[in-house]
C-alpha cells in the first residue's frame, strides 16, 4: 500500500464496523450543527501562519490507535502522523507538496540510471549514536525486502551499494522518475540498525524505543491509552517550539466532543463529517490544505458499465456539486481527475489548465447539453438490460454519492440499485475480485502518497490490478511507461497530461470530487502545515503559540 492507497479511515469507522449506527448518529447529529462550507470558497493552503512562542505540551487526536510504529511492517495513516515527527527520510516532502533532499544532504544523477546520495553529516539518532551510510544502506535494503510494505517502490533498482564513507549509490535497471519521491515517503526512512535489530520482533510495538533521528523522540506508548513524543535535545536541525505531544485516539462523536471541550488541541480530520461538525465551534480554527485525495466511482467489468460509452454518459450526468453540498457539507470540491491538486508537485500551471479542460467530461453540475450528449452515448451503445448495481457502505457521504449515481442513471434513462454492505466488507471490494463480482460500480475514495500524478496513472495500465474494467490501450501503456522513466519534470508533465486525457476519455474511473486535508486547531496554536504533507513532514516541530 504505498504508491496508491485508499484513505484507510475516511469512513471514520475503521474500528467500529458493528457500530455504524452508533458512530454515525453521534457524528451526524453534531454535523447538522455546523454551517455548511462552500467548496469553491475553501482556500487550500500549504501551511498555517508561523508560530511565535513555545508551548510545553499539546494534546493531539488520531482517528485510531496506530497498528504499529514500524512503518515497514504496518503502515497506516495514524502511525505516520505520529512517526513523521520522530523519523526522518532521505528526502523530505514540503508543506507545498514539493520534495527536497534531506538526510541525503546532496543527491546527484550522473546518468539516468544512477542516483548518488551523500549522507548528511552531524546527525545523531535518539540513542546518541551517529547516523552513518551503513544505517542508510541497511534501511534501504530493509524497505526493499519483499515482505515489507515499501518493497514495491524498488522494482527498478538493480543495486544499492556504499561507495564512499558517506555515499550510497543506487543503480537502476531503467530510469525511475518516482524513486526520489518514494524516498520522501516511507521508503526513505533511515532506521538505526542497532536499535531495530535489538528490538527484534517487538520493534514498533508499545513499550519499545524508536530508532530514528527526528526532532522528537518517542518517550512512551501505553497500549490502548496514549503515545507521547518529546523534543529531542540532540536534534541536528532547528529546535521544535512544542516540547511534548501526547496522542490519543477516538472516533466520530467522541473525537468531535474532545475537540469541542478542549480536551484535545488539534487533529488532522480525515473525515469531512468531522470537519463539518467542528465548523464554527468557538475556540477552534480550521485550515484546508492541498491533498491528493479524491472521491471516485470505480466501475467493474461486470454489467452495463463495461462499455466506456455508458461510463462516460454516467460521468456527464452526475451532479457533483450536489454531492459535495449534501454529502460532505461543502468540504469537497467537484473534480474531473482521479488525483487531487496536492499531487501537482511540479508544473502546477500546466496541470491546473489541463484539469479545467477535463471538466468537459466531468461537469460539476450537468446542463441540458451534457444530458443530451449522455443520452446520445447510451443510444449509441445500447442501454443495458440489467440495472446497474452501486456498491457502498452506510456512511453518510457514500450513501449520498450512491443515491446521486442512481439519480444520474435515472436522468439518462438507466436503472440503478444500491447495494449497501458493512464497512469491513466494503473494504474487500477494493482487493477481492470475487467480492466485486456482485457490484457494477464502487463508491470509493483514494489518495496517493506521492506528489506526482504519475503515481496514480499506472492504475490504468492494461495489467494493473486496479484497472477493473479491463481498459486496454497500447498508446496509454506506452505513455505511462515513458513518463515513469522521464526524470525531467517538464517533459514528464507533458506526458502526464496526455495520459490523464486518455484515462478520462475512456472513463476508466469516474472522478467525483477532490478532498482537501483538514487541520482543526486550537485558536491559540499555529504553525503546522495544513496540506497532506502532515503524513511525511514533522508538523509538530513548527507548531507553537500564536503569540510570543
Amino acid at each position: 500500500m504505498t504508491t496508491y492507497k485508499r484513505r484507510a479511515v475516511t469512513a471514520g469507522l475503521a474500528a467500529a464496523g458493528l457500530l455504524t449506527t452508533v458512530g454515525c448518529s453521534g457524528a451526524d447529529t453534531a454535523a447538522t450543527g455546523g454551517a455548511p462550507a462552500d467548496a469553491a470558497k475553501l482556500k487550500l493552503t500549504a501551511t498555517t501562519p508561523a508560530a511565535q512562542g513555545a508551548v510545553a505540551k499539546v494534546n493531539w487526536l488520531l482517528e485510531d490507535e496506530p497498528d504499529s510504529l514500524d512503518l515497514d511492517t504496518q503502515g497506516t495513516s495514524a502511525g505516520r502522523v505520529v512517526l513523521t515527527n520522530v523519523c526522518e527520510r532521505l528526502y523530505q516532502l514540503q508543506p507545498d507538496m514539493t520534495i527536497k533532499p534531506f538526510l541525503a544532504e546532496k543527491a546527484a544523477t550522473p546518468d539516468d540510471r544512477t542516483l548518488v546520495l551523500t549522507v548528511r553529516d552531524g546527525v545523531t539518532f535518539h540513542d546518541g549514536s551517529a547516523l552513518t551510510a551503513d544505517d542508510v544502506l541497511w534501511s534501504l535494503k530493509r524497505h526493499a525486502d519483499p515482505d515489507m510494505e515499501q518493497s514495491d517502490e524498488f522494482p527498478n533498482v538493480a543495486s544499492m551499494e556504499k561507495t564512499g564513507a558517506d555515499e550510497i549509490t543506487i543503480r537502476f535497471k531503467k530510469p525511475d522518475a518516482l524513486f526520489t519521491k518514494a524516498l520522501a515517503g516511507d521508503a526513505g526512512i533511515v532506521w538505526n540498525k542497532e536499535q531495530v535489530e535489538k528490538a527484534g520482533e517487538d520493534f514498533g510495538t508499545p513499550g519499545q524505543t524508536d530508532a530514528c533521528s527526528g526532532p522528537y523522540a518517542l518517550t512512551g506508548w501505553k497500549s490502548g491509552d496514549s503515545i507521547t513524543i518529546r523534543a529531542y535535545d540532540g536534534y541536528w536541525g532547528e529546535k521544535p517550539l512544542t516540547q511534548e505531544v501526547v496522542f490519543r485516539w477516538a472516533a466520530d462523536s467522541a473525537l468531535v466532543n474532545a475537540l469541542k471541550t478542549g480536551a484535545a488541541d488539534g487533529t488532522f480530520a480525515e473525515s469531512p463529517n468531522t470537519a463539518s461538525a467542528l465548523r464554527g465551534v468557538k475556540g477552534l480554527t480550521q485550515y484546508y490544505g492541498l491533498s491528493t485525495a479524491t472521491l471516485d466511482l470505480i466501475p467493474t467489468e461486470r454489467g452495463g458499465l463495461k462499455d466506456p460509452k455508458i461510463r462516460k454518459a454516467l460521468s456527464l450526468a452526475l451532479d457533483r456539486a450536489g454531492i459535495a453540498k449534501s454529502g460532505y457539507g461543502g468540504f469537497v470540491e467537484p473534480w474531473a481527475s482521479p488525483v487531487g491538486s496536492g499531487s501537482w508537485g511540479y508544473a502546477k500551471t500546466e496541470f491546473t489548465a489541463a484539469q479545467k479542460e477535463l471538466a468537459a467530461t466531468s461537469p460539476a453540475s450537468p446542463d441540458a447539453d451534457d444530458i443530451a450528449e449522455a443520452k446520445r452515448l447510451i443510444k449509441e451503445a445500447g442501454a443495458p438490460t440489467e440495472p446497474i448495481v452501486i456498491g457502498t457502505d452506510a456512511t453518510q457521504g457514500r450513501t449520498v454519492v450512491a443515491n446521486a449515481v442512481r439519480a444520474a442513471l435515472q436522468r439518462i434513462g438507466l436503472k440503478g440499485t444500491i447495494k449497501t454492505v458493512p464497512t469491513a466488507q466494503f473494504e474487500e471490494f477494493y482487493s477481492d475480485p470475487q467480492a466485486r463480482a456482485e457490484i457494477d460500480v464502487l463508491v470509493a475514495d483514494w489518495y496517493i502518497s506521492k506528489s506526482d500524478p504519475m503515481g496514480f496513472y499506472d492504475n490504468g495500465l492494461s495489467d494493473s490490478s486496479n484497472n477493473w474494467v479491463g481498459f486496454k490501450d497500447a498508446t496509454y501503456d506506452e505513455k505511462v511507461r515513458q513518463a515513469l522513466g522521464t526524470l525531467d519534470d517538464d517533459e514528464r508533465a507533458t506526458l502526464a497530461i496526455d495520459v490523464q486525457k486518455l484515462f478520462a476519455d475512456a472513463a476508466v474511473w469516474i472522478p467525483v470530487a477532490q478532498v482537501p486535508s483538514v487541520l482543526v486547531l486550537d485558536d491559540e496554536l499555529t504553525g503546522a502545515p495544513a496540506s497532506q504533507a502532515y503524513l511525511y513532514y514533522p508538523w509538530a516541530a513548527g507548531l507553537g503559540a500564536k503569540k510570543g
Binding site: 492507497k5 457500530l19 449506527t21 447529529t29 491509552d225 467522541a254 474532545a258 480536551a263 474487500e428
Partner: protein, 317 residues
C-alpha cells in the same frame, strides 16, 4: 460441599472447552480472508503471496489442526501475536482489561445500589405514588438504549456543562472515577431498571409468604420484618439477576467504549473482527466467555449461602 464444588468446576471447564471450540470455529468461519489483510496492501495481492502468507500463519491447515495448535498454546499461556498490531495478544489484553473491568465494576456498583434501592423502596411503598414513580421511571430508563444514553449524557454533562471529561479513561483512582462516571451510568441505566423490577417482585412475593404474616402478627417491628424476613428471602433471585446482568456487561461495553473514546476490550474485539485479526478476536471472546461462566459459577456458589432452602436442596441431591 466439596462434591458440589468439584462438580461445578468440572462443568466450568467443560463449558469453557466447548465454548473455545465454537469461538475458534466461528471466528474462522467469519467472511473475509485474513491473508488479504496480512499481505499488506493491494499491490501485493498475488496468489503466490497470499499462499505464502497463509502458510506462514498456518491458515492453510485444517480447522481441527489449527484449533489443536491454538489450544495447546493457550494452555501454555501463549495467546500468540496480533496480526494487526504485531504485539503479544496478552500485552494487548493486559493494557485494555483494566479499563473494561473498572467500567463494569463501576456500572455494577451503580445498578446494584440504585436498582436494589429503588426496588426495595417500591416494594415497601407498594401501590403508592412512590411505587408508580419507580416503575414509571425504570420503564423509561429500560427503553433507552445505552448508546442513546451515552450520547445524551455526553452532550449535557460533558459538552454543555463541562462537568465530566468526554474521552479517555483517566489516571489514578480519582481520575478514573471522574472519567468513568458517565460511561458507567450509560451502561448501568438499562440494568438498573431490570434489577429494580426483579427486586420489587421478589420482595412482594416474600412479603406475601406465611412466615412473614406470622412474624407481623407476633408484633415484630415492620423495619425488622423487611430486613430480616422479606429482603433476606428475596435475596436469591436478586443476586442471581445481578450476577447475570454483570456477566452480560463484560461483553457489552463496546458501544459505550466507542461513544466515550475509551480503548477497552470491547473496542479491541470489534477492531479485531473488522481486520480479521484472529488471535485477538479469539482471545477476547474466550476471555469474555470465561468471565461470563466464572461470574455465573460464583453466583451458583453464593446462592446456597444466602438461602438455607437452596442449601438444603444442594445437600440432599
Amino acid at each position: 460441599m466439596p462434591v458440589r464444588l468439584a462438580r461445578l468446576l468440572a462443568g466450568f471447564l467443560a463449558t469453557l472447552f466447548a465454548a473455545s471450540f465454537v469461538i475458534f470455529a466461528a471466528v474462522y468461519a467469519a467472511p473475509g480472508d485474513p491473508a488479504v489483510f496480512l499481505a499488506g496492501g493491494r499491490d501485493k495481492l498475488t496468489p503466490e503471496r497470499l499462499a505464502a502468507v497463509r502458510a506462514q500463519y498456518h491458515l492453510d491447515e485444517p480447522l481441527v489442526v489449527q484449533y489443536g495448535r491454538w489450544l495447546w498454546d493457550c494452555l501454555h499461556l501463549d495467546l500468540g501475536r496480533s496480526f494487526k498490531y504485531s504485539d503479544q495478544v496478552s500485552d494487548l489484553l493486559a493494557a485494555r482489561l483494566p479499563t473494561t473491568l473498572a467500567l463494569v465494576a463501576y456500572a455494577t456498583l451503580l445498578f446494584v445500589v440504585l436498582g436494589v434501592g429503588a426496588g426495595v423502596l417500591a416494594a415497601v411503598k407498594q401501590s403508592t405514588w412512590v411505587d408508580s414513580a419507580v416503575v414509571g421511571g425504570t420503564t423509561l430508563a429500560a427503553s433507552v438504549p445505552s448508546f442513546v444514553a451515552a450520547i445524551a449524557l455526553v452532550s449535557v454533562f460533558g459538552v454543555q456543562l463541562g462537568w465530566f471529561p468526554v474521552t479517555g479513561s483517566g489516571n489514578g483512582f480519582a481520575g478514573t472515577v471522574h472519567h468513568l462516571t458517565l460511561p458507567a451510568l450509560s451502561l448501568a441505566l438499562g440494568a438498573l431498571a431490570l434489577i429494580s423490577r426483579v427486586t420489587r417482585q421478589a420482595m412482594a412475593e416474600a412479603a406475601a409468604s406465611d412466615h412473614v404474616e406470622a412474624a407481623r402478627a407476633s408484633g415484630i417491628p415492620e423495619r425488622e420484618i423487611v430486613r430480616r424476613h422479606v429482603l433476606r428471602n428475596a435475596l436469591g433471585p436478586i443476586v442471581t439477576m445481578c450476577g447475570l446482568v454483570m456477566a452480560g456487561m463484560l461483553a457489552g461495553t463496546v458501544v459505550v467504549e466507542t461513544a466515550f473514546g475509551m480503548s477497552g476490550i470491547g473496542s479491541l474485539l470489534v477492531g479485531a473482527i473488522n481486520t480479521h485479526d484472529f488471535p485477538v478476536a479469539q482471545a477476547v471472546l474466550l476471555l469474555m466467555v470465561t468471565g461470563y461462566i466464572a461470574v455465573t459459577t460464583v453466583v451458583d456458589l453464593v446462592h446456597p449461602l444466602l438461602d438455607p432452602r437452596v442449601r438444603e436442596e444442594a445437600r440432599t441431591t
